[in-house]
């Protein structure tokens, strides 16, 4: 099981801050393809990947990153701190 977290408008579009899923995805990109099939809301949230960022186990990462052994994957828009 892996924890998938959503922040900001991704959280709003998906309608939940986190979900636990069983996945055999090898990379973040593969996980995204799986998530898109879960609901129309997921498909919409991941329709523009240019505005989605990812963290694997709380480290900023790339869509091509491998996720075997990862416990927590977070998706969010570009950050706006400061």
């Amino acid at each position: 099981m892996i924890d998938v977290l959503y922040f900001a408008w991704l959280r709003e579009r998906i309608g939940a801050p986190r979900e636990q899923i069983e996945t055999s995805a090898a990379t973040v990109a593969e996980l995204v393809e799986e998530l898109k099939t879960r609901s129309d809301a997921h498909a919409l949230a991941f329709s523009d990947m240019a505005s989605v960022r990812v963290a694997v186990d709380q480290e900023l990462s790339e869509m091509s990153a491998e996720i075997s052994g990862a416990r927590e994957i977070a998706f969010f828009p570009p950050m706006t701190g400061g």
């Binding site: 977290l5 922040f7 900001a8 963290a55 828009p77 706006t80 701190g81 400061g82």
Partner: protein, 149 residues
């Protein structure tokens, strides 16, 4: 504590006084604070969301990079989350060094990294609805200033 993430307001004067006492011997302290700005006069609140767990690590990493890169006596970051009103302080950084150039550059660096590498997201809540603040291309390009050649 050098890095703090909190919902409650902070007293900038008291924070800077304590920081300055801690770095006794430094010749320069630079501070910056960011406030909730209401350009159109229609902002009711700025809501700041964060990623608990990751945010502390990200801020520690950003601070460590600044400490490594410049000759600093210390550096601190405070950043708030939750619902803030126009004029309220969102965050502050302070840097201390023997000379001002290091302190200024490090504070500038901290701000550039906070903008686009710390997991915070701002939402402007107005009288007619709410909107997520979009990241600016210039925030991303600002980071390239700090690439080491």
């Amino acid at each position: 504590m050098s890095v703090r993430v909190q919902s409650e307001p902070f007293d900038m004067g008291a924070e800077v006084d304590a920081f300055t006492t801690r770095v006794a011997g430094a010749g320069a302290v630079v501070t910056f604070s960011g406030l909730v700005r209401d350009d159109g006069g229609t902002l009711a609140a700025m809501e700041i969301e964060h990623y608990p767990g990751m945010i502390e690590k990200a801020l520690e990493t950003i601070r460590a990079k600044a400490m490594d890169r410049w000759s600093l006596a210390d550096a601190m970051i405070i950043h708030r989350f939750g619902s803030l009103r126009p004029g309220e302080q969102i965050m502050m950084v302070a840097t201390a060094a023997r000379h001002r150039a290091d302190a200024f550059k490090a504070a500038d660096f901290l701000m550039d990294y906070l903008k686009s590498r710390a997991p915070f997201w701002k939402k402007e809540v107005g009288k007619d609805g709410a909107e997520w603040v979009a990241a600016k291309d210039q925030d991303e390009s600002a980071l390239s200033r700090w690439k080491k050649s």
